[in-house]
C-alpha cells in the first residue's frame, strides 16, 4: 500500500457569522496516497475550491484536522504554512496566473527561487528540463502574453512541477480552454503523474476530464457524496 501523504479528518469550514454564515465544507474526511490522480467534482458552490484551498494550506479549517505526512497543520502560523507550501505543494490555476513580466523560463524558475535555491545553473537546467517535458522548449524565452491559453497552462504545469512537490493542486485547470486543449492538458498531467509519481488533485466540471481520473470525489453542499476509485 502506498504512503498516505495527506489526511483530512472531520474538516469543516464555515465562512461569515450569524445570518450570513455559510458552511462550505461539512465534516469531510479524506486520505490521499502518493501518486494519486484524483478529481474533485460537483456543482458550483459544492465546496471544491474550499477543499483545495485547505489541502493547499491557503486556508485553515474551522474544525477538524489536516495532516501532511503525519504532521498536523492546525498549530502552524502563516509563516510556517508558507514554508510548508514552498516545499510540498504546487498550484495550477484556472486563469494560469503566470507572472506577466517574466519569461516562460523565469516563470518556471520562480518556485525554486522562492524556495531560496541560489544555485543558478542548477535552477536553469531544471527549468529547461521541465519546459521540455511540457513541450515548450521553443517558447522558453517568450513572455506569457505571447502564448496561447493552452501554452500558458502548460507553463503553469511546468511551474508547478519544477520543485518536485508532494502534491499538485489544480483548481479547474481546463475551464478556460477549448475541449481539445483541455484533454491535452489533462493527458499531460496524467503522463507526468505516471512518470514522476506526483500526486495530482484537480477540480473540474467537465465529464470528459473526469473519465481520465483514477479517483473521483463528488462533493455536494460541502459533503462527500461519493468517493469512487477506478483502475488506472
Amino acid at each position: 500500500m502506498a504512503e498516505v501523504v495527506l489526511a483530512l479528518k472531520n474538516v469543516t469550514k464555515v465562512y461569515g457569522k450569524g445570518e450570513g454564515e455559510v458552511t462550505a465544507l461539512h465534516h469531510v474526511s479524506l486520505a490521499f496516497e502518493q501518486g494519486e490522480f484524483a478529481a474533485v467534482v460537483g456543482p458550483s458552490g459544492s465546496g471544491k475550491t474550499t477543499l483545495l484551498n485547505i489541502i493547499g494550506c491557503l486556508d485553515s479549517p474551522t474544525e477538524g484536522e489536516l495532516a501532511w505526512k503525519g504532521v498536523q497543520m492546525k498549530s502552524m502560523n502563516k509563516t510556517e504554512l508558507a514554508a510548508y507550501r514552498r516545499t510540498h505543494v504546487s498550484f495550477v490555476f484556472q486563469s494560469y496566473n503566470l507572472i506577466p513580466v517574466l519569461t516562460v523560463t523565469e516563470n518556471v524558475e520562480l518556485p525554486l527561487l522562492i524556495e531560496g535555491n541560489h544555485d543558478r545553473p542548477q535552477i536553469r537546467e531544471r527549468a529547461r528540463a521541465i519546459i521540455a517535458m511540457v513541450g515548450l522548449s521553443d517558447k522558453a524565452g517568450r513572455f506569457p502574453t505571447e502564448l496561447s491559453g493552452g501554452q500558458e497552462q502548460r507553463v503553469a504545469i511546468a511551474r508547478a512541477l519544477v520543485k518536485n512537490p508532494s502534491i499538485v493542486l489544480a483548481d479547474e485547470p481546463t475551464a478556460n480552454l477549448d475541449s481539445h486543449t483541455a484533454s491535452e492538458i489533462i493527458e499531460l498531467m496524467g503522463e507526468i503523474n505516471r512518470k514522476t509519481n506526483t500526486t495530482f488533485l484537480f477540480s473540474t466540471h467537465d465529464p470528459r476530464i473526469m473519465e481520465l481520473a483514477h479517483r473521483v470525489i463528488t462533493l455536494r453542499d460541502g459533503q462527500i457524496e461519493s468517493d469512487e476509485r477506478r483502475a488506472p
Binding site: 486556508d59 535555491n117 541560489h118
Partner: protein, 420 residues
C-alpha cells in the same frame, strides 16, 4: 530559506519598466523637484561666494586686525585707537598665516566732504598703494590716475554723483581730531572708483598717507591691518581657514582683535543659513508632492496585480517579501527620478557656472546691503547637494511605497486568487 532577492528585484524592475507612462510621470515630478533644489542651492552658494568675495576684495580682506579698543568703538571708526607698533605686528604675520597670504595697513576714519556748496559724511581710507593692491582690488576700479597720488583723492561713483563732482574738481575734507578740534584740507578728485559695494560707493574717499598727515596734523595711525589669505575652492573652507588663522593671531597677541570674514559677515551668514533652510523647505514640499504620486503609483500597481500577489504567496513568498517587492518598486522609481534630478541639476549648475545669472537689471540702484551692485551670480558645484538630492529622492520614494507595500503583504491569499 530566504527567497532570492535578485528575483524580487527583477520582478520589481520589470513591473516599473512595463508601466512606462505611469513611471515616467511619477519620476518626472521627482526629477524636476530635485533638479530645482540643486539649482537653487548652487545659486545660493554662488550668491554667498560673490558676497564674501566682494567683502574680501574691497572692504575688509579675509581677516582684519584692529586694536581691541578700536574694535570696541568700531561704529565711530576712531583715530585714537590705532594699532600699536603695526610694523612689528606685520613682521610677525608670515609664520601665522597660510603660505601666499598678503596684508596691508589701512587707516579708516569718518570725515565730512564738501564740494564747496554741499557737505556729506564720508569714510576716509588712508592707503599704501604698494601693499594695498596685493590685498584689495579697489585700484582696479579707479577711473583716472589719482590712486596713490598726493593732493588727489579717489572717491566712490555714488559719492561723486551725490556731490556732483567730476575728475579734476576740488573737494574739501574735514576731520574731527582726537583732541576735539576740526581740521580740513582741499584735494583734487584724481579718480572715481566704481566700487561694487553700495556702502563704499556712496561714502569712500581714498587718500595718501601724506595727505592724511596734513589733514590730522600727525602721521595717520594704522587702524587696521587687512589680510588676504589664498582663495579656497569652497567658501566654507575659506571661512574656516580665515577663522583658524584669526584665532592663531589673537592667541599670539592679546591686544589684537582679529576679525575673520566669517565674523565680519556673521549676520549675512546667519541669513544664508535661513536661505538654505528655505531651499530645504522647497525640496520637502516637492518631495511631498512626489510622494503622493509614488504612493498612488504603487497602490495602482498593487491593485492591478492582486492575483499575482496571490500566486506568489501560494508558492510560499512570505508577507515581508511581498512588502519588499513593492518597496523595491517604489525605490526603483525613486532612483530613476533622483538620477534624472541630479542630471537635470547638473545641467542647471553647468549653465549657472558657465553663463552666470545677472540680477543687476532686477534691482537697479537699490541698496542690497552686503550684496554687490550689478549682482552677477555664477553657480557653484557642490557634490554634497547632489548626494542630498539623490538620497532625499530615494528615501521619500521608499517611505511613500511602504504603506501600499504593507497593504499588499496583508492580502489574504485566497481572496487574492479569487480577485477578478
Amino acid at each position: 530559506m530566504k527567497a532570492n532577492n535578485r528575483m524580487l528585484f527583477r520582478i520589481a524592475l520589470r513591473n516599473v519598466a512595463r508601466h512606462k507612462r505611469r513611471t515616467a510621470i511619477t519620476a518626472i515630478v521627482l526629477t524636476v523637484g530635485i533638479g530645482v533644489f540643486i539649482m537653487f542651492q548652487s545659486l545660493l552658494a554662488g550668491m554667498d561666494r560673490v558676497t564674501i568675495d566682494t567683502a574680501i576684495d574691497y572692504d575688509s580682506g579675509s581677516i582684519s586686525l584692529r586694536s581691541k579698543d578700536y574694535e570696541a568703538h568700531a561704529t565711530s571708526q576712531p583715530l585714537e585707537y590705532g594699532l600699536q607698533d603695526s610694523e612689528s605686528i606685520m613682521a610677525g604675520l608670515g609664520v601665522l598665516l597660510p603660505a601666499g597670504s598678503t596684508w596691508t595697513p589701512r587707516t579708516r576714519f569718518y570725515v565730512q566732504v564738501s564740494n564747496w556748496t554741499d557737505e556729506t559724511p564720508a569714510l576716509a581710507f588712508v592707503v599704501r598703494p604698494d601693499t594695498d593692491e596685493k590685498v584689495f582690488k579697489t585700484a582696479q576700479k579707479v577711473e583716472g590716475g589719482g590712486w596713490g597720488v598726493a593732493t588727489e583723492a579717489v572717491i566712490g561713483t555714488d559719492l561723486a554723483r551725490d556731490l556732483n563732482v567730476k575728475l579734476g574738481d576740488s573737494i574739501v575734507i574735514t576731520a574731527a581730531l582726537p583732541n576735539g578740534s576740526l581740521n580740513a584740507i582741499e584735494l583734487t578728485v584724481g579718480g572715481i572708483a566704481d566700487l561694487p559695494l553700495f556702502s563704499l560707493s556712496q561714502q569712500a574717499i581714498y587718500m595718501t598717507a601724506q595727505d592724511a598727515e596734513a589733514l590730522i596734523g600727525a602721521p595717520a595711525p594704522v587702524t587696521e591691518i587687512d589680510i588676504r589669505i589664498p582663495p579656497a575652492s569652497r567658501l566654507d573652507a575659506l571661512v574656516a581657514e580665515a577663522d583658524e588663522a584669526a584665532s592663531r593671531i589673537e592667541k599670539g597677541d592679546s591686544g589684537i582683535a582679529a576679525v575673520s570674514i566669517g565674523e565680519a559677515m556673521r549676520d549675512y551668514l546667519a541669513m544664508r543659513n535661513m536661505k538654505s533652510k528655505f531651499a530645504y523647505i522647497v525640496i520637502v514640499i516637492v518631495l511631498l508632492i512626489s510622494s503622493v504620486g509614488i504612493f498612488n503609483t504603487i497602490l495602482m500597481s498593487m491593485y492591478s496585480r492582486i492575483r499575482e500577489i496571490g500566486v506568489l504567496a501560494a508558492y510560499g513568498l512570505e508577507p515581508r517579501q511581498i512588502k519588499r517587492l513593492f518597496s523595491l518598486e517604489g525605490m526603483i522609481i525613486g532612483i530613476i527620478g533622483s538620477v534624472g534630478g541630479i542630471l537635470l541639476g547638473a545641467v542647471f549648475v553647468w549653465w549657472l557656472t558657465s553663463q552666470g545669472l545677472s540680477f543687476g537689471g532686477m534691482f537697479g540702484s537699490l541698496d542690497l546691503g552686503n550684496l554687490p551692485k550689478d549682482l552677477f551670480i555664477r553657480g557653484e558645484w557642490n557634490p554634497a547637494t547632489f548626494a542630498q538630492g539623490f538620497l532625499f529622492g530615494v528615501l521619500v520614494s521608499w517611505l511613500a511605497s511602504l504603506m501600499p507595500a504593507r497593504k499588499a503583504s496583508g492580502i489574504e491569499v485566497t481572496e487574492a486568487l479569487r480577485f477578478v
